[in-house]
């Protein structure tokens, strides 16, 4: 009798985490099972001893922006506030594989941030100086030095926007985004934290301005504290409380080529022509650019955005003209007016918010977890996220990283 195709496949490997039914009550409920939610739960457990906790995810674990980013990790931000938070994250990244005892494919292959105009050269050198004052590795490289690090980059002078040089952060790099989520999830499951998938939060229970629990598609859950980590969907949750947040949800697209031989040794970002490119361990070129201009929750963007980004990529990397686009996709990112995140307390007691990471949240994942966990456990911000409070839009103390980081985040 002929064997059914596939009948000889091995059993499903052991699950890295269980899928428990939600309990009726927890000390802490985290809304959003992406990288930030998982990392926050992890550090709440490890640093603050809180394990009677659930992470609620409306879809499947880490299936939102955590599965859709371009995995770039760097900390070369201009302003002290940003540098503090991202560099803290970088230091945690450097120990995270050991900490989680899980392979994250964290590869510190460096990042080149290209400069294409004299003004960009000046701004870049200023940022290198600022980075060094903050203890962050940074160098200014001229075009020849850039070519040495990344030989496939077109550094000739006849480009429409020639590469005049670049900043170089050697400790920057990439990691395997799924593995990061899985590593956190496995550790959380082992510590007895409930990871509840297919559980959408639809509202909140409150007594006056004190939050006492969440309403979900899987029943009401009482909570000592509720922490939002829902990225592009944060406004939908906050609207249930009438809590206004200065964020706008936009599509952010990314794409990959087919699997290629290793050709690209580092990460290259260009704000001016606007594209960023790395090559994943498996071999695909991973490309991203900016958001689509309009508000959207659709997890899809417009084709001309991709076309523009590929035009820039082929100009910088002529050999990419022979590559093919294998897949494109979009995530929904929540963008703030100053392009910096919001993390801290809210006008509601026992409700905390982490949002507004826009296009740059992945690289901050462990740093967010560390600081947000502190904020939740102590009911006051960690010194590193104190500047990223919601009040800054009223006081005017913005962290205007938009001008500093340019468009690529």
């Amino acid at each position: 009798m002929p064997r059914t195709p596939g009948a000889d496949l091995p059993d499903h490997p052991d699950w890295l985490w269980n899928s428990p039914e939600p309990k009726s009550s927890y000390d802490v409920v985290i809304v959003g099972g992406g990288g930030h939610g998982l990392a926050t739960a992890y550090y709440l457990a490890v640093n603050h001893g809180i394990t009677n906790m659930a992470v609620l995810e409306s879809g499947w674990l880490a299936g939102g922006n955590m599965a859709r980013n371009t995995t770039i990790i760097r900390s070369n931000y201009l302003w002290d506030e940003s540098a503090g938070l991202y560099e803290h994250a970088m230091k945690l990244w450097e120990g995270l594989e050991d900490e989680l005892d899980y392979p994250l494919l964290f590869s510190q292959r460096g990042v080149l941030n290209l400069a294409h105009s004299l003004q960009e050269v000046r701004d870049s050198k200023r940022r290198v100086g600022a980075n060094r004052l903050n203890g962050i590795d940074a160098e200014w490289l001229d075009a020849d030095q850039v070519a040495e690090i990344c030989p496939i980059l077109n550094t000739s002078e006849d480009l429409r926007y020639p590469v005049l040089g670049a900043t170089w952060q050697p400790r920057a790099g990439i990691a395997k985004h799924d593995h990061v989520a899985w590593g956190f999830a496995r550790a959380l499951d082992r510590m007895g934290v409930d990871l509840v998938q297919n559980c959408q939060v639809t509202g909140f229970d409150r007594i006056g301005d004190r939050i006492t629990g969440v309403r979900t598609t899987r029943g009401d859950i009482a909570a000592g504290k509720v922490a939002l980590a829902a990225a592009g969907s944060t406004s939908v949750l906050a609207d249930e409380l009438g809590l206004a947040l200065p964020i706008q949800s936009h599509p952010l697209q990314a794409l990959v080529s087919e699997l290629l031989e290793p050709v690209h040794p580092t990460v290259v970002m260009s704000n001016a022509v606007h594209v960023y490119v790395s090559q994943a361990h498996k071999g695909e070129l991973v490309l991203g650019a900016g958001i689509d201009s309009y508000n959207s929750y659709g997890q899809r963007g417009s084709f001309h955005t991709i076309e523009r980004e590929l035009t820039a990529a082929v100009e910088l990397f002529p050999m990419f003209a022979r590559a093919h686009v294998l897949r494109t996709w979009a995530g929904v990112v929540d963008v703030t007016p100053d392009a910096s995140a919001i993390m801290g307390l809210t006008p509601f007691e026992n409700l905390y918010v982490n949002c507004g990471w826009g296009t740059g949240g992945f690289k901050a994942t462990p740093g967010v977890g560390w600081c947000y966990a502190h904020t939740i456990a102590h009911d006051e911000p960690h010194q590193l996220n104190a500047p990223f409070n919601l009040d800054r839009f009223t006081t005017g103390a913005l962290v205007d990283e938009h001008g500093a980081a340019g468009v690529a985040h």
Binding site: P246, Y294, N295, Y297, G298, T395
Partner: protein
């Protein structure tokens, strides 16, 4: 790419337009009298609607005029003023 219905030029490709965000955000009548909180609201806070959103577009590469449409932010369907039938997407 969306097809956006300019009231003066008809449906045109999205690349001809500039996005203006939430509609009906008006400059405070007496700016001197506005509190810091209200000023922040005016400057930085906009509705972030999931569903039908009333928003501004400018036909930058066409007639260069501003207009308002209602668009579903989950499907990109664009509606006429009070209609529930999409005219473009």
């Amino acid at each position: 790419m969306m097809l956006i219905p300019c009231p003066w030029c008809g449906p045109r490709n999205e690349t001809e337009f500039h996005y203006g965000g939430q509609a009906d955000v008006s400059y405070p009548a007496d700016p001197q009298a506005v509190s810091d909180v209200d000023w922040a609201r005016f400057l930085f806070f906009r509705a972030n609607t999931k569903g039908i959103f009333t928003e501004r577009w400018n036909h930058q590469a066409g007639c260069r005029r501003w207009f308002t449409v209602r668009r579903d932010t989950t499907t990109n369907e664009i509606f006429h003023d009070d209609s529930h039938e999409a005219v473009t997407r």
